[in-house]
Structure formats: structure tokens, C-alpha cells
């Protein structure tokens, strides 16, 4: 359950619209069901009151939308940012991808977002309504009584392993500020590292062979903001709309992971949007873990303007050969 309410967010947005601070509001619009929300630019109080939603299903990270929306807006855009979204926000600012002057950021606390697939695993299919109160009360077409679930039991993976309840960027903060959390997010990576190369290859083969090359991971990724992706460019020689075989998919995902290495804030959007439930975030986390290990702790987006270790030369940098030498205890 979220500590801040929909009404509080609407009230804030309406007052900022009224005093002219912002011209529009980037928020979540309610959908057909209680769990399908769509990012939308709200223009006025009536739209907000009718369709704005804030509940346990507002997972979408708005930071990337600022690249296109802030540019086009006539005044400032009000954006609501959960703690993890603020890291992407800073990272995009570091890369000069949107105009900070065009944005009014309101930090909002987040108690973690729910994965509807996990809800369905417990309640079954045919969800008619989900009441996001103290606990989730789920009514389906097939059960006589609503099923009551603790949101903590159905959190998205990225929220179970939440790395920070602290906002690293905002103009204004609603609710209480949280702390950076010592999460267990690298545990799954450590399990993969402990595998033999053959086991690890088989693991990724099994996962990535399901890829349908819809590019949702790339298109939702706040670190992927190239105006023309190399994989969409017929002149690049690697443009491809479909996987020719399962090796090609590994190439796509590994190249993408390398490209965002040091810039990925571990927001988890890639895995959230994957229609095939491929744990893509594990590739990125491996890079983050290695960067932490070889170059010292580094969190992309923690501050604006920081130089990522992979693009910053220091005389203390380890030699490539050292990485190879240490492969057995940190493969």
C-alpha cells in the first residue's frame, strides 16, 4: 500500500497548474482494469480528477518521457518521480537529454510496485477488480469471495530488491524521505557467477532464446535514448527486425547491456516490460557488480554530472589483464 494518496497528488498537481508553475502533468491514467495504467500528459484539473491514478501498479518510470515531452511542452512539465525514477532522471540530465528548466519534479514515496502476474498466480485469471487498500483485495470472475493479499508478497522483483527509498532529484518532495537501502540485488548475479561456463551459457540460452525481438526493453530503457538505434539503422549492417537464430539474440542483448554499462541505474524497466519475462536486468546488474568490484562503488544517476568509471580514466585504473586474472572469483 502506498503512503501517499491519489488525492494528495491530484491536489498538488491542481495547485501547480493553477498558479502557473506547470502547464501539464505527466501522470498515470487509469485503464480498463485496476492494474493497467498508461503514462499520459494531463492538461487540466478535470482530466486529473477523472482519470489520474496512483496505486500499487504505477510502475512505469517517467524519466525517459521527459526527453520528448519536456521539449514539446509550452511551459513546465510536472513529473511525479518515485525514488528509483530519480536516478534515471539524474542520469538523463548528466547526458544532457532534456532541459531541466522545463521540468518541475515532485518526488513521491514508493512502497514498492506489484507484479500483476504474481497476483494472478495466487488468485487465478479473470481479475475483475483490485482494491489497493491496506492490503490488496482481488475479485475475480471465478471466486465468490475476494482474495486478500499482502502487497509485500506480490512485489515486482525490482521492488523486492529495492536499492533506494531516497530521492536523488526533485524540486519538491511529498511525504517522507527514505534511505538508500543495502539490498540483496546482486545475489542472483552471484548465483550466475557460481555456475560453470556451460551452465551459465545454458541459462542464458534458455532465457534469451525466448526473445521475440520486440525491442520493448530498449524502448522502455531510460538509458537507451539514442535518436537512431544501431539496430534500427539499415546502414549499420546489423539492423534486424527478427532473430535469425538464438545466437543473434544474445548479441543484441549483450551489446545493449554493454552500451548502457555505467549508465544503467538498475531501474528494472527492461524486465518489467519484457513480454517473455526474460530477466534482462541480470545482465545489467552483472556489469554494475563488476564496476563496483573493479573500480569502486558507483551508482549511476546518484548525482548529476558524475563521471562513470568506464568513461573516466585514472592512473589507478586496473589493467584489462587484471580483470582476466581475477575471472575465477569474479567471472
Amino acid at each position: 500500500m502506498q503512503t501517499i494518496t491519489r488525492d494528495q497528488l491530484i491536489e498538488k498537481a491542481v495547485s501547480l497548474l493553477a498558479d502557473g508553475t506547470v502547464s501539464c502533468v505527466l501522470g498515470w491514467q487509469k485503464g480498463e482494469f485496476d492494474y493497467d495504467v498508461t503514462p499520459v500528459l494531463f492538461k487540466n484539473a478535470d482530466e486529473l480528477k477523472a482519470n489520474f491514478v496512483w496505486n500499487d501498479f504505477c510502475g512505469a518510470n517517467f524519466s525517459k518521457y521527459l526527453v520528448t515531452k519536456a521539449e514539446k511542452a509550452t511551459g513546465k512539465v510536472l513529473v511525479f518521480l518515485k525514488p528509483c525514477d530519480t536516478y534515471s532522471f539524474n542520469q538523463l540530465l548528466t547526458e544532457h537529454r532534456f532541459n531541466r528548466e522545463k521540468v518541475y519534479a515532485v518526488g513521491i514515496p514508493c512502497e514498492g510496485m506489484v507484479d500483476v502476474a504474481k497476483v494472478k498466480a495466487i488468485c487465478g485469471d479473470g481479475i475483475v477488480s483490485i482494491d489497493c487498500g491496506e492490503k490488496l483485495s482481488v475479485t475475480t470472475l471465478y471466486g465468490d469471495e475476494p482474495t486478500v493479499i499482502d502487497a509485500k508478497d506480490v512485489l515486482a522483483e525490482r521492488c523486492i530488491n529495492c536499492k533506494s527509498k531516497k530521492h536523488v532529484a526533485y524540486d519538491e518532495l511529498l511525504g517522507e524521505e527514505g534511505e538508500v537501502i543495502a539490498s540483496d540485488r546482486f545475489d542472483e548475479v552471484a548465483k550466475l557467477e557460481a555456475m560453470t561456463p556451460d551452465e551459465r551459457f545454458a541459462f542464458w540460452q534458455g532465457e534469451l532464446s525466448r526473445c521475440i525481438r520486440c525491442n520493448a526493453c530498449r524502448d522502455a530503457c531510460p538509458a537507451c535514448t539514442c535518436e537512431k538505434c544501431v539496430f534500427d539503422n539499415p546502414k549499420s549492417g546489423v539492423e534486424n527486425k527478427s532473430p535469425a537464430n538464438s545466437f543473434e539474440e544474445k548479441m543484441f542483448h549483450i551489446i545493449r547491456a554493454f552500451h548502457v554499462a555505467g549508465r544503467c541505474t538498475d531501474c528494472g524497466e527492461c524486465s518489467r516490460v519484457c513480454p517473455q519475462n526474460i530477466p534482462l536486468h541480470l545482465l545489467n546488474r552483472k556489469f554494475i557488480k563488476d564496476i563496483n568490484c573493479f573500480y569502486g562503488e558507483y551508482q549511476a544517476g546518484a548525482e548529476v554530472g558524475s563521471r562513470a568509471p568506464l568513461v573516466d580514466y585514472t592512473t589507478d585504473d586496473l589493467e584489462p589483464g587484471e580483470v582476466f586474472d581475477r575471472r575465477d572469483n569474479n567471472a
Binding site: 498508461t38 525491442n215 539492423e239 527478427s242 517473455q276
Partner: protein
């Protein structure tokens, strides 16, 4: 009507698999169902539907069309086709069976796509009635009855039994192969199940979604609607909706230089992609709004215009479940259709 006990369904699968390759939905590691080649130990999934639709069997995501080899000034053209084996797809839902009719109208009309036609000729479809539709289901909108699925054989699954009815010659032939494992029965149990399903259909949240506002001849009614701006504003331009859709049929043809020759292949394409239908002069749809509009106008206006009013959507609900921003055809139909009734 014939039936077998649910406990003995694996021996039915084994018998079918003797004569043809058998594919059926099997639960994958992540819990979602995937069409998988049957072998001993594979269990028929209880899932309502697969993430990827069975269109893959007739229109695979990539397929080689031909190869070229050059020697001096000679070019040898090599036919790379290998579709010659019979196969059975078991457990196809009513919506997906209907999608084959929509694909057929594209690929089997002149000039016939012989790659698709060969696969259709070799494939036998065993459909299965739905017992627990999802909240995302809206096949009823397109006149599809999930209790009465088409296909070469229709099947109904109850708690304890599986019922079969052959609808075509192919179906009769397949059913005769499993005659020893099934027994003749009345329609009673199946009729009872049909009634149950129709009662659920009346409770589905999307039961009132209607195509009334759409169809051929409506192009100019909707093409310039301001609603497209609003609907498409947060579209990521990914291809999830098109690739999980059982009726999306667009593809691209490309040449791959192997170093020793050329392989010409085709692969699914998505109207959501910036390079879709790019031609020498450039792109004809430059904004995501235009691409987004194309997808829905194609399904709701252009396709029915060219195909006797048949809509190019079957209400399977995959795009509702999978779109990263939860924008989908139901929202489009309600918004665009609702404003223009």
C-alpha cells in the same frame, strides 16, 4: 462426439505423435505457456493461452525463402523449402483458430504465398473450448464463441474428460487414428459446458466492446481524428503488440550475405517500427502517431474494407496483457468508436 479420460490424454498424444509431429501448449519456466513439441513427459498446460500465438506455425518469425550462389557470371537459385511433414497443433483456442482465417485471406489469395500454403496444407488444428476466459478476453466482440471453437477437430476439456468432434476431412482422419483410445459418447457433457461458458461470457468486463462504429468505408471518418494524438502519446514504438498478435501479418524481405552467397529471408515486421515500409524516397509514416494509427486503422477499417467486413482482430487479449504502457485496441475502439457512434 468421442471422448477419453483426462488421465489417458497422454496416450492420445503418444498415438498422434506416431503419425505426425505434435505441438501443444506446455508451461515454460516462467509459468507462461509455450507451444512445444510433444514428447513423453510434456504436460498439456492449463493456461488459457500462449504468449506467442500459433500463427508462428504457418507464418514463422523468420524463414528462408531462397538462396543464391554465384560462380563467375552464373547465379544459381536454390529452393530452401523443407515443409513436407505433417504436424498437429493441439489446444488452439477459438480466437486463435479464427486468426488463421484472417491470415488465409492474405496469404492464400492470389498470388498465393506457397510457403504459407504448404504449412497450412500439412497442419491439422485441434482446437479446445475455453472454460475460464480472462478479463482481457473480448472474442465475443468479433462474433467468436469460445465454447464452439472451429478447427479440424474441436475439443472440450472438463475436470475429468476430453471430448472430440471432427469438423473436416483432416479431422476425421486424425480422430480415426485415436479411435482405439476414445469412445463414442453423447453431447450432454459438452452442452452443459457450453452453457457454463456462455454464462461466464455475460460477466466478462469487456463484453460490451463493439465494432459497430468500424468497418470498410470509414477511413475518412477517423483518419484525422484528434483522438490519435492522445491515444498514441506514450506509445514506445516497440513491437510487442504486433509480435504477440495472432493476426498481424506484415513482413520484410531481406538478403543476407553469407560470404559465399546470399540467403533471401523474410521476417516479421512491425508497423510500430521507424523503418517499417521504408522506401527509396524515405518513410511514409514519420511520427509514432502515424504508425500507431496505421495499426488500428488496418485492423478496424482497411482490412474489413478489403475482406467482406471481417475485422483483423480476434479479441485474444494478448496485447492488453503485454503492452508496456497498457495502450491497446480496446481503448482505441472505445475512444474512437465511442466518439463517433
Amino acid at each position: 462426439m468421442r471422448k477419453c479420460s483426462l488421465n489417458s490424454i497422454n496416450s492420445v498424444f503418444a498415438e498422434i505423435a506416431k503419425a505426425a509431429t505434435l505441438y501443444l501448449p506446455v508451461d515454460g519456466k516462467d509459468g507462461s505457456a509455450v507451444y512445444t513439441k510433444w514428447e513423453e513427459g510434456k504436460v498439456w498446460s492449463n493456461a488459457l493461452n500462449t504468449v506467442r500465438s500459433p500463427k508462428d506455425f504457418f507464418f514463422p518469425q523468420t524463414e528462408n525463402l531462397m538462396a543464391f550462389k554465384t560462380a563467375g557470371k552464373n547465379i544459381e537459385i536454390i529452393d530452401t523449402r523443407s515443409e513436407s511433414e505433417d504436424f498437429v497443433i493441439f489446444g488452439v483456442r477459438a480466437c486463435d483458430v479464427k486468426s488463421f482465417e484472417i491470415l488465409d485471406r492474405v496469404f492464400l489469395s492470389e498470388p498465393v504465398d506457397t510457403f504459407y500454403a504448404a504449412r497450412r496444407a500439412h497442419g491439422v488444428i485441434v482446437s479446445v473450448a475455453c472454460t475460464k476466459p480472462s478479463e482481457t478476453c473480448f472474442c465475443g466482440t468479433f462474433g467468436i464463441n469460445p465454447a464452439e471453437p472451429a478447427g479440424d477437430i474441436s475439443a472440450w476439456k472438463t475436470e475429468t474428460e476430453v471430448f472430440f468432434r471432427a469438423n473436416t476431412e483432416k479431422g476425421v482422419a486424425l480422430l480415426s487414428k485415436i479411435e482405439g483410445l476414445t469412445e463414442e459418447c453423447t453431447d450432454e457433457a459438452v452442452d452443459a459446458q457450453k452453457e457454463k461458458i456462455s454464462a461466464i461470457m455475460k460477466k466478462l468486463p469487456l463484453k460490451d466492446v463493439t465494432t459497430d462504429a468500424f468497418g470498410g468505408g470509414k477511413t475518412m471518418d477517423y483518419f484525422n481524428s484528434p483522438a490519435w494524438d492522445e491515444l498514441s502519446q506514450s506509445c514506445l514504438g516497440c513491437g510487442t503488440c504486433t509480435f504477440v498478435c495472432p493476426t498481424c501479418q506484415c513482413y520484410d524481405i531481406k538478403d543476407f550475405n553469407t560470404g559465399k552467397g546470399v540467403i533471401r529471408y523474410r521476417c516479421w515486421d512491425s508497423c510500430m517500427y521507424s523503418e517499417f515500409t521504408r522506401m527509396a524516397h524515405g518513410n511514409n509514416r514519420l511520427s509514432q502517431k502515424e504508425r500507431f494509427r496505421q495499426r488500428f486503422m488496418h485492423k478496424l477499417v482497411y482490412y474489413p474494407e478489403n475482406n467482406d467486413g471481417l475485422f483483423s482482430c480476434v479479441g485474444c487479449g494478448r496485447c492488453l496483457a503485454k503492452c508496456p504502457i497498457s495502450m491497446n485496441i480496446v481503448k482505441v475502439m472505445k475512444k474512437i468508436g465511442g466518439e463517433n457512434k
